[in-house]
Amino acid sequence: MAAADKSGPIADAAVADLESIRVQLDREIRRALLRLNTAPGEDTLIKAQGRVAAQVAAQIDAAMKVRGLTAIEGVLRDRAIESALAALGGVDLPVSVTTEVNAILKSQTKDIADVFNDASSTIRRAIALGTTTSASLSDLVDGVAGVIGTSVTRAQAAVDASVMAAGRTAVIRAATEAADGIVNLVYLYSGPKDSRNRPFCRVHVGKALTESGIAQANNGQGLPVDAFAGGYNCRHVWSPMTMAEAQRRRIEILE
């Protein structure tokens, strides 16, 4: 084992996909905002354009749902499944893993929906305020672009959390299947040990758990430990090793 290839076998699709969604969303919402009337020759929004403003807000709401939420959900699903497939070495997903990945997707989709609903409300409020105070259209456009950017960044975090969770789940299932009947495996709680560790992570990092130990563990966050480890956005992962190797290395095993 000496060198590594320079090209990555997995495409950097999630980042590119989300950026493309952000650009499309931004473009569509800018177009909608331009329906707001401005004073001739000025950038100032005209007061009392309630009906147009309501239509624009509704159009933006729809764009956020279709261009934003639905599209990002698609990326989320694809990337999580790709992550699980990667952890399984590219073989077909067993039903048990598919079921667990679907449960992860359901919770993460709800988080992304909340992000986009918050963003829609913020934009609606900004439009209402702008059209009652005769604010500048360009300020409104900039503000809305900022809201979209932040929403997509938050969505990216949810996509990444799903990718990690699906990967953790698949690692355990794949290891269980690979070791079945030929060797006992344990799962090292692997990752940084520093002042940012959650209490659960501080206790478990550097120790190994059996599969039943993982099933019994409680991270206090209401999230399954096998998929989310110490909680949402946890930095730790499971590294399978044989029980005999853990014992040789004097790693504490929690059953």
């Binding site: 084992m1 999630a14 070495g89 960044t153 399978p240 044989t242």
Partner: protein, 167 residues
């Protein structure tokens, strides 16, 4: 970037597919643990961080070791991304994933998220492995001699004894 582990030789007692899957399960953790312990692909300590970066990292309460880790996104994403079994043997490709981590800056003794995302872990991994600009190479993505020994030992735990080679 990725590495490949290949097995060749006579027929083993355990089906090749089972052996390949078991190796694909065990090998990524070895790379993660060794790198997290600050050792490169030859089991030697990584080139030290610059004084400024080390100071910033430790001031922010992070582990002072040269372990390519802030969020653990890179090492956490390492997995066997493909296992191909043929009649002659098998090849397992191990690589970092395509996700991203929160981009972090160390400012005034605190690790702050910049609000942006990092390059994908596969790109970050290559930057660390080969170095870039003033950043020295810290080769990490391979099975080191000690990783190979541990892998062989764990395969023996499963009653499997096979010759391995890597590239």
């Amino acid at each position: 970037m990725s590495i490949a582990v290949t097995r060749s030789g006579g027929p083993p007692r355990v089906p090749l597919e089972r052996i390949a899957k078991l190796m694909a399960t065990l090998a990524p953790g070895l790379i993660r643990e060794r790198t997290g312990d600050g050792l490169d692909v030859q089991d030697r300590p990584f080139v030290a961080y610059s004084r400024d970066y080390l100071l910033a990292k430790t001031s922010a309460g992070r582990n002072p070791g040269v372990n390519l880790t802030v969020t653990n996104g890179l090492l956490g994403s390492v997995a066997a991304v493909s296992v191909v079994v043929t009649e002659q043997g098998f090849t397992i490709v191990i690589a970092p994933g395509a996700g991203t981590s929160a981009a972090t800056q160390f400012v005034d003794g605190v690790a702050r998220r910049t609000g942006k995302r990092s390059p994908t872990h596969s790109v970050l991994g290559a930057i660390h492995h080969y170095g870039r600009g003033q950043m020295p190479a810290r080769p990490w993505l391979a099975l080191s001699p000690k990783d190979m020994t541990s892998l062989m030992r764990q395969l023996l735990d499963a009653g499997i004894a096979i010759p391995l080679r890597g590239r």
